[in-house]
Amino acid sequence: MNFAFSEEQEELRRTVRSFLEDKSPSAEVRRLMETEEGFDPAVWRQMAEQLGLQGLAIPEEYGGSGFTYVELVVVLEEMGRALLCAPYFSTIALAANTILHSGDDAARKELLPGIASGETIATLAFTEDNGRWDAEGITMTATKSGGAYTLDGHKMFVLDGHTAGVIVVAARTGDGISLFQVAGDASGLGRTALQTMDQTRKQARLEFSGVPAKLIGAEGKGWDTLGRVLDLAAVALAAEQVGGAQKCLDMAVDYAKVRVQFGRPIGSFQAIKHKCADMLLEVESAKSAAYYAGWAAAELNDELPVVASLAKAYCSDAYFHAAAENIQIHGGIGFTWEHDAHLYFKRAKSSELLLGDPTYHRELLAQRIGI
């Protein structure tokens, strides 16, 4: 029984943290969030070439380094802490996981090495205007004629959909939900970047009219893959949320120690101190949940669906609460554009909604534990 990261995993954390402190300081986050593409291609390349982050959990036979989901959790936590602006979550947690778990070895061989090397940016086009994360939400159709498929309809809220070179699309054929691979520059594909409240994670609307697509995995079996991918992605997101929440707590505590009112540091007032104590309780609990879920994801064991929803529900609430309290503890300065508190607050909200909000995941969990 051992619920701790290994020395190597801690070393990975230190490496990623210092890389991100260097490459993703507040000024960079602010510069990139104002751009349409929302990331720095040079940093993306360094992430792959210097640290091997994109290939971290991709098996060696597909060009990755074959580490586990636990290592991925460490990396994502640091990215959440630094508010890294990059298509990492979309490429790795969504697209790479889908390809990896699609059962389609040809697709893996074709796509994963490019992702691992940092060459390919990819994403998963799942949600539509209805915003749903369940199977019923997928209404887009794929038509087969001859041996080839074409896609018609739209996808909405697609993370990094306007910059991805490879888009994995969930659509319906007569056999049910199936997965398709579409090139970012495919003919008939219209891509529009959305103006989003959280500017640190980009979203796009995709319009398909007769877009040629290649089937991934077996036709009609897409949901088997997606069900697992949603769980894995929820764990990844929970890890990101933990990193952001810890950062909010750090900011709040640091400020509470130095800001003086009524002749004493505000952190000596119980109203502030007790808020911080509650934040610590939630942040530590969120870590326990996300790390445990990371282990279940690494093992791909039976607990995964339950703990994925558990972690997503709990970490969403904990992050949002920490981000909101951080603003409160900062007072007026916390409400300014100049202070970073709002960046975390907005990321907390967008992450809370991504992959289904806490209410949705508590309901899923209830079903999964047989209630």
Binding site: M1, G267, F269, Q270, A277, S288, Y314, E363, L365
Partner: protein
């Protein structure tokens, strides 16, 4: 990261399971897991059960072998607690002896004190109570006024304790008393051991909001105890008492989660049985309760790992009391909500709440004892997060 147990540990689990299977029968099994420090249902049977545990060597599991314990590892203690909860075995009666005084004596006691008192705890023959709180010394424990003065080879104690749980069953009390009234508040205290059955001690039960009376007032009127029954040295009682509280707040909670897990499941079962679990709001609350109890487990496992690696629990341990007490109160409120109007109807007279009603009522104490939630937040804020202390009034001497 690995949540599997090794072979030795699994063997130990088997041993526990077998023993419980063979011994937890009849009236013992009928008790279920009910009861707790503020709930003495089935007391006599629970006491008999405790003696069985003692005979089989399950009390003081983690104590060093030289003091009659089994020297079990923290993981083994966790396994024992897990199996104990899984079997729904009776709530323990030797909490104050095994959980508090024993570890305190092992850490601070003299060799004679250990030899004299540890065996009685291990056999569940001598029961203890905790004499810390007084009318003017609750959260502010250092404000204790009960006086102890040396008279030849005896301490003479006069004063009053309050909220003393199970004092009416206890053979002994460990009491924080003032031995130097001229020293600053924290410096004039001593940790004394006194026999309860003596003319100078009077126990008056206090009826709780649960309708029963597990805690008491304890009055000392020239009560006496031997001069050598001071633990950790004269006027060093604050340090010893803090040690005791450390044990109380430390690992004792690790077993709580498992009882809560059972209780949470019984709430889910109740909702399903009464066809309430289709309501989306009820489903949200059940899922939330279930998540809470799992998080307690994960937090506990992280704490356990830190204890194993470093000998001291990490910051999340300090939050556990705050966490479980609030969680349990919410569960009690959910239980009432599910019962609807039936939540008002007691199981019996004169004032006999059932299990759900007992949780609802008794859990109000849990955010008060062992350091109230406010005190816990102070501790977390100041000792874990390093926030500045509140300005305190100058520390005078308590007269």
């Amino acid at each position: 990261m690995d949540f599997r147990f090794n072979q030795g540990e699994e063997g130990f689990r088997e041993e526990v399971r077998t023993w419980l299977g063979e011994h937890l029968r009849g009236e013992y099994a009928a008790l279920g897991g009910g009861g707790g420090p503020a709930d003495e249902r089935g007391w006599d049977v629970r006491l008999a059960w405790e003696k069985e545990l003692g005979q089989a060597g399950w009390i003081g599991l983690g104590w060093p072998k030289e003091y009659g314990g089994r020297g079990a590892s923290i993981v083994e203690q966790g396994i024992f607690n897990e199996e104990y909860a899984r079997a729904n075995a009776p709530a323990r009666t030797s909490f104050f002896g095994e959980g508090l005084l024993g570890p305190t004596l092992i850490a601070f006691g003299s060799e004679e004190q250990k030899q004299r008192f540890l065996p009685g705890i291990l056999r569940a023959e001598e029961l203890w109570c905790q004499g810390f709180s007084e009318p003017d010394a609750g959260s502010d424990l250092a404000n204790v006024k009960t006086r102890a003065t040396l008279d030849g080879d005896e301490w003479v104690v006069t004063g009053q304790k309050v909220w003393t749980t199970l004092a009416h069953h206890a053979h002994w009390i460990f009491a924080v008393c003032r031995t130097d009234p001229d020293a600053p508040k924290h410096k004039g205290l001593s940790f004394l051991l006194l026999p309860m059955k003596q003319p100078g001690i009077e126990v008056k039960p206090l009826k709780q909001l649960t309708g029963s009376a597990e805690f008491n007032e304890v009055f000392f009127d020239e009560a006496r105890t031997s001069a050598d029954l001071v633990v950790g040295g004269v006027n060093n009682g604050w340090k010893v008492a803090m040690g005791t509280l450390g044990f109380e707040r430390g690992t004792a909670f690790l077993s709580m989660q498992l009882r809560f897990d059972n209780e949470c499941q019984s709430v889910i079962d109740y909702a399903q049985k009464h066809d309430l679990a289709r309501d989306p709001l009820v489903r949200q609350k059940l899922a939330d309760a279930w998540i809470g109890v799992q998080i307690m487990k994960y937090n506990g496992l992280r704490t356990l790992t830190k204890l194993l690696a470093t000998g001291s629990p990490g910051p999340e341990a300090s939050t556990s009391k705050l966490y479980w007490s609030a969680w349990h109160q919410r569960l009690g409120e959910l239980e009432m909500e599910l019962m609807g109007p039936w939540s008002e109807v007691l199981a019996g007279a004169p004032y006999e709440p059932d299990d759900f009603q007992t949780t609802f009522l008794a859990s109000r104490a849990e955010t008060i004892y062992t350091g109230s939630s406010e005190i816990q937040r102070n501790i977390i804020g100041e000792q874990v997060l390093g926030l500045p202390r509140e300005p305190r009034p100058t520390e005078g001497t308590p007269r």
